[in-house]
């Protein structure tokens, strides 16, 4: 018995010493040791060009209110319970500012990401479809989105606006532009530290066929929405329950 107790003491001392040693020397990820292990991947990202309505949508999930917003200079990120009917799911919802200098931050959030809402302003798509497609191209060809087939919802927002166009038309427009981009981007020069890895060579869709969303491994949904509640007009809410159910589907 005594030996056993001594053995336990020595063992626990050894464990503590080992942990300390590893922590101090190799800096193991502490979240792995203390409770991080049970965490589920529950990230949903909201991406899109400036002024498309990302923060409005984020705030709607967070407060169930359509709130006034202005240009974002920081990420909005919180764990938020999403309800639909009798279901409730906790989502780590992140809204990345559309400013071109801040966009790249989305890559940091991909490891725990289960779905991406890509928000498009349906009333301005005629003017900015090129920029929209370029951003979307970068998202679709980032390694983790491609390899983990992270599902994408193209949110066609501001459908209340009379200049806005249908989701089906937006889809064709973007497919067309992605087709062009695919040809120019894959011909770009390799980067200076390219170490022979294939990641720069992701090819979207099928070679020698015109690009279609059907050809990529990611599920792509198109959802038309409106989050508009200004004082002078009557509020128009379109598609928010469809959006919630898309989110919940990603996490089940």
């Amino acid at each position: 018995m005594n030996y056993f107790e001594i053995f336990i003491w020595v063992l626990s001392f050894a464990i503590v010493a080992f942990l300390l040693f590893t922590v101090l020397n190799h800096r193991v990820d502490l979240s792995f040791v203390f409770g991080g292990a049970g965490k589920k991947k529950n990230g949903i990202l909201i991406l899109g060009l400036p002024d498309s309505g990302k923060t409005t949508i984020w705030a709607w999930f967070r407060y169930t209110l359509v709130l006034p917003t202005q240009t974002s200079m920081k990420v909005n990120e919180e764990e938020i319970p999403v309800h639909l009917m009798d279901k409730t799911v906790n989502v780590f919802l992140t809204d990345i500012p559309g400013n071109i200098k801040l966009r790249h931050q989305f890559i940091q959030y991909l490891p725990i990401c289960k779905g991406i809402m890509f928000v498009v302003d349906s009333s301005k798509i005629d003017e900015n479809y090129q920029e929209v497609s370029e951003y979307l191209y970068d998202v679709l060809t980032s390694t983790q989105v491609f390899e983990q087939k992270i599902p994408i919802a193209i949110i066609c927002n501001k459908r209340d606006d009379e200049k806005s166009i249908k989701g089906t038309e937006i889809k064709l427009k973007i497919e067309d532009e992605l087709n062009h981009l695919r040809s120019t981007r894959t011909l770009a020069l390799d980067s200076h530290d390219d170490n022979g890895s294939y990641k720069d060579d992701i090819y979207l869709g099928i070679q020698d066929e015109k690009f279609e969303f059907l050809h990529i491994p990611n599920q792509v949904a198109f959802i038309e929405t409106s989050f508009q509640s200004s004082l002078d007009k009557s509020p128009v809410l379109i598609g928010h329950s469809e959006l919630s159910s898309w989110v919940i589907d990603r996490l089940e």
Partner: protein, 626 residues
């Protein structure tokens, strides 16, 4: 007199706002974009069209406070107003704000009842201002005015007292306001200097001002009164001369800082053990590496990345949980960081301005858990570097060429500029090689009519390129010998290119020192005559502080010597001789910081395939690693 005041989260959710008139969204979004894009904003005011904005941030709570008014009004009390509104709002609603308990779902309203407080602060700020102006007027013009004077004097004295006591309070405590105040005070001085300048300018527009009667209200009288204006200006001049003293003082302290850096270095405080180290390239690069670890927590990224974690960490002290970072906590580690950047060949003043901007971002941030200060600086630094290096326009040149071809059916034109011997002609040939690989038809215009051998050099390149490229490729040299006007040759080349179905015209120019005025003038003529699609500046990766001079002078010359409304600047950069610098990649940062323009390619050797795209994540890693 204010048009709009808004209190919002930095994430973009408006918590409270008051509109005195309706204003468009554009000025606010312009302001925020410039806050994002410029790493060092000198003063807390910004103007867009007829709007002027002053702002303050609270990094601790992630808030921004913005006041918008008509620039023409030159309101002098807005700094104080923004400051006192911030103080009041943060003070009154601290717990709500910390818990992000902003809105009540049931009542559908925000949890702030800030209107009364705001009105009070606004009134008192306005009155303070009025009094200080009335004082300068010396003789109130009529009874009514003098009465107002009496009334407001009392109120404003109180207000002034309030303000000054607040300031004293905060400088005694160690809160965020401490450093923020200092920043505001400093910038206020700068602001005043600016105003002097504006005031002088506005003399001319004074007559127009009277048109604006309804908006002006009380201060209009003073505006109309010339003597007051003079008085006012004298005062401002005074403060600006004072300001000069101040800046020289600042400069002095800056110098001292640098000396310290150098000393520290030569003394070898950072021994072989005190170095910082960064996870090797690949572990975090672009996040593109697939992490098989499902538990990878986004929040832990910073601590995984090195610096904070590794040996230099011993040098930096650990901060207590919940501590709010002040500027004095940051001085030393930021100075270290600047030194590190300078060692990486980043121009010294650029390194310093980056340090300042990282500092600004961190002052007021609350430390969570037991964190080393370096583990806070590292990610902020990484983000800032990334932000500077990330281009703000598309760099997909093939796409641009396609577009020009499709929409205008003419060749896309590139002109290569730079000082002598940096690799303009060599890299032009490499770009040509790449274009030929992509089945584009290229015409090279020999517009270096200055250095002997320049045309022959290109002739050799063209012969090589023809031999090395696909059989059906089309590449030709357009030459007119030496001594002729390069702008004219370029023009002829472009016309020739257009009629003969070339897709791209590459224009080689003579190397020129940035101080050579006649040559710079000639370059600017070449640009304004030919309106190239892209002006590409070729610079050596080896260049240090000199890069700043080269780029600013080239840009300045392009601006100065071109017809109004047609001014151009450098559109993109080729960084040559990248193979000769190991990881001292600082020039990449310097050049993008100075111009705000992307690095289109890097030259990595002397053969045609030694032209690469730039990988921002790898540049950032190289800059950070030891």
């Amino acid at each position: 007199m204010l048009d709009y005041f808004v209190i919002a989260t930095q994430g973009g959710i408006i918590l409270w706002s008051k509109a005195f008139v309706t204003i468009p969204d554009l000025p606010i979004s312009k302001l925020i974009n410039s806050l994002i894009e410029t790493t060092s904003i000198e003063n807390q005011r910004f103007s867009y069209n007829s709007y002027q904005m002053n702002w303050a941030v609270s990094n601790e709570l992630g808030l921004i406070f913005i006041a918008v008014y008509q620039k023409i009004l030159q309101l002098t009390y807005i700094d104080d107003l923004v400051y006192s509104v911030k103080k009041k709002f943060v003070g009154d609603y601290k717990t709500l704000l910390v818990n992000k308990d902003f809105f009540d779902k049931k009542t559908q309203k925000a949890n702030f009842d800030f209107e009364p407080s705001f009105t009070k602060l606004y009134k008192s700020a306005e009155q303070t201002d009025l009094v200080s102006k009335t004082y300068k007027a010396e003789k109130p013009r009529n009874f009514e005015d003098s009465k107002k004077f009496q009334k407001t004097l009392v109120g404003s004295k109180q207000a002034i007292k309030d303000l000054t006591s607040q300031k004293n309070d905060s400088s005694a405590t160690n809160s965020e306001f401490d450093s923020d105040d200092m920043a505001i005070l400093k910038t206020r001085k700068k602001g005043i200097q600016m105003r002097t300048f504006e005031n002088k300018k506005s003399k001319k527009t004074n007559s127009n001002n009277t048109d604006n009667t309804e908006k002006k209200g009380k201060s209009k009288r003073i505006w109309d009164d010339g003597t007051v204006n003079k008085e006012y200006m004298k005062d401002l001049d005074f403060s600006s001369s004072k300001n000069k003293e101040n800046t020289t003082e600042n400069e002095k302290t800056d110098m001292v800082d640098v000396d310290q850096l150098v000393d520290q270095h030569s003394l070898g405080v950072r021994g072989s053990d005190g170095v910082y180290q960064v996870a090797s390239i690949g572990s975090t690069e672009d996040g593109n590496e697939i992490s098989s670890d499902d538990n990878l927590d986004v929040k832990d990224k910073s601590s995984n990345t090195g610096w904070g974690a590794t040996r230099i960490g011993n040098f930096f002290k650990t901060l207590a949980n919940g501590k709010v970072l002040t500027s004095s906590d940051l001085n030393e580690p930021i100075a270290k960081m600047c030194e590190h950047l300078i060692n990486k060949n980043v121009a010294a003043n650029i390194a310093r301005s980056i340090g300042e901007s990282v500092k600004k971002e961190l002052v007021g941030v609350k430390v969570g858990g037991m964190q080393k200060i370096s583990s806070l600086i590292y990610p902020a630094m990484e983000n800032t570097l990334r932000r500077i290096l990330t281009p703000s326009t598309s760099t997909d040149m093939l796409r641009d060429i396609q577009q020009v071809h499709k929409k205008e059916n003419r060749p896309y034109t590139l002109v290569f500029v730079g000082v002598n011997g940096v690799g303009k002609s060599t890299n032009l040939s490499k770009v040509c090689f790449w274009l030929l690989q992509n089945n584009l038809r290229v015409l090279i215009a020999a517009c270096d009519t200055f250095r002997s051998g320049a045309v022959e050099q290109l002739r050799v390149h063209v012969r090589n390129l023809r031999a090395l490229s696909p059989d059906d490729c089309k590449v030709d040299l357009f030459e007119r010998g030496y001594g002729k006007d390069s702008a004219t040759i370029a023009k002829e080349a472009i016309n020739y290119g257009e009629t003969n179905g070339y897709d791209v015209v590459l224009i080689d120019t003579a190397g020129r020192m940035q101080d050579n005025e006649p040559l710079m003038r000639a370059l600017s003529k070449l640009v304004s005559v030919n309106k190239p699609d892209k002006i590409v500046f070729v610079g050596e990766a080896l260049v240090g502080n000199e890069a700043v001079q080269q780029l600013t002078k080239f840009n300045q010359a392009l601006l100065n010597y071109s017809p109004p409304n047609e001014s151009r600047v450098i559109d993109g950069i080729i960084l040559s001789k990248f193979d000769t610098i190991d990881d001292k990649v600082g020039a990449a940062l310097t050049m993008t910081h100075v111009t705000g323009k992307p690095i289109l390619f890097v030259g990595t050797g002397q053969t045609y395939t030694d032209l690469k795209g730039i990988k921002i994540s790898s540049i950032v890693q190289s800059l950070l690693k030891d």
